[in-house]
């Protein structure tokens, strides 16, 4: 696996922008900012954390979303997935 990169997440509901460093997941940074997004398995299996991607290019790391869910519904698991674009906007 190639080295992880840092990117930014914008939370659409509050407008807040958070930087996700290479060594942390989106939900870890959410928790550090007291945003308690529901999680369970933390590896893209259980579907608990699914959110919509409003903008940006997601780098899906889950094991359960179908192509339609990814491409049409723009669903995303922030527990393990990341972004190819420098900014990704999530419906949180």
């Amino acid at each position: 696996m190639s080295e992880e990169r840092s990117f930014e997440v914008k939370l659409a509901k509050s407008g807040k922008v958070l930087t996700i460093p290479a060594d942390k997941s989106i939900v870890e940074i959410l928790y550090e900012n007291d945003i308690h997004h529901p999680i369970s398995c933390e590896q893209g299996i259980c579907a608990t954390c699914i959110v919509k991607v409003l903008e940006g290019e997601p780098d899906h790391r889950d094991s359960i979303l179908t192509n339609d869910e990814r491409n049409v519904n723009r669903e995303f698991t922030p527990c393990c997935s990341r972004a190819f674009s420098d900014l990704i906007v999530l419906d949180i």
Binding site: S40, C41, Q43, I45, C46, A47, S63, I64, T66, N67, E69
Partner: protein, 343 residues
């Protein structure tokens, strides 16, 4: 979650005779029977006169007769005779459920009858192919939510723990390191596993003695809401699965889970023998071996259901092996949304 607008197996065709059979399906009491000319019928199991179960009734030429006060109902559920009364009220009818006989099973539709499309019934032609895939079928009531058995079927990591003496029979590591392919389909998932150079599990060895290690395969197709079509087998390690002769093991299993209530279901299964097709004893042997494994699962899932009744499911934490079952459940949710868009 029970999807009402879907086909379920109500019974094996050969289970249902002129003697009415009561069966609760998707929480609704249903009576199943055959008319004197052999047509299978499913009606609400309650007479519209005083509510008595029609399953205590008798099938006669005119229809099914309630054995409380003698009202008779035709196959469409309409009352055709009220003893000692000329007038039959228009309201005098019981619900009729769409019922289709296909691949030796009776398929019922509990939800909105106008949505019942026969083309949605999965195909399983092996039941009709006694030459190439002789089979044995049966039904077992299980006290768990029907999707818990789907979970169980799509999860291979329990094999080594629940079934060490039957279909498991390998070290847990064999099941954990199997090569897996998991894909979503329009209406479910496909899952295949290959285990090379694995010890044959007791079931395989009891049916077909293998001299050494084998290459095993398991292919599953899940079709929402509740069907799992399985093809499993093994050949000697290093042999070509497509061409290898004896010793080889070839087995198809049909699994259909029909909700009875929110915490109980009917498990309709069949085992087909593809390696010794002209030997009825071999077909019977597979059946008796798989029956053992299903009994092992039943013990675990019924005990699991009792705990889930107590503690709920919200707090449970999925692990890596849960991906197929989570995908399957998401396919069931998609079907539910498609079939009940207003809900």
């Amino acid at each position: 979650m029970i999807v009402n607008n879907a086909w379920y197996v109500a019974a094996w065709g050969d289970e249902i005779t002129e003697n009415p059979t009561p069966r609760r399906i998707c929480n609704e009491p249903v009576v199943l029977y055959r008319t004197l000319d052999g047509q299978a019928v499913a009606l609400q199991d309650s007479c519209c006169h005083r509510g008595a179960p029609l399953s205590l009734g008798t099938v006669i030429e005119k229809g099914i007769r309630c054995n409380y006060h003698g009202l008779i109902f035709g196959s469409d559920g309409a009352c055709v005779e009220v003893p000692n009364q000329d007038m039959i009220p228009k309201k005098a009818r019981v619900r009729n459920y769409p019922l289709v006989e296909k691949d030796q099973m009776l398929w019922i539709w509990i939800g909105d009858a106008e949505k019942a499309d026969e083309k949605m019934i999965p195909d399983y032609p092996f039941h009709n192919d006694a030459v190439n895939w002789p089979h044995i079928h049966d039904m077992m009531p299980v006290k768990c939510h029907y999707l818990m058995l789907v979970d169980n079927l799509l999860d291979a990591t329990h094999l080594a723990y629940v079934h060490p003496e039957s279909v498991g029979g390998s070290a847990p590591s064999v099941h954990m390191v199997a090569k897996n392919a998991l894909d979503a389909t329009d209406n479910g998932i496909t899952l295949s596993r290959e285990m090379s150079n694995a010890p044959p599990p007791p079931v395989y060895n009891n049916c077909v003695p293998f001299p050494g290690m084998i290459d095993r395969w398991q292919e599953f197709e899940f079709i929402a809401p509740s069907f799992v079509i399985q093809y499993s087998g093994g050949v000697q390690n290093g042999e070509d699965r497509k061409t290898a002769g004896a010793p080889r093991f070839d087995m198809r299993i049909w699994h259909a889970l029909t909700p009875e209530t929110d915490t109980s279901c009917f498990y309709f299964w069949s085992t087909s023998n593809g390696h010794e097709t002209d030997n009825p004893a071999a077909t019977k042997k597979i059946d008796s071996e798989i029956r053992k494994a299903l009994a092992e699962d039943k013990v675990m899932v019924e005990a699991q259901q009792l705990r889930i009744n107590e503690f709920g499911e919200e707090w449970l934490v999925d692990n890596k092996a849960d991906a197929p079952r989570v995908m399957a459940r998401r396919a069931v949710s998609r079907l539910q949304q498609k079939q009940n868009p207003e809900a």
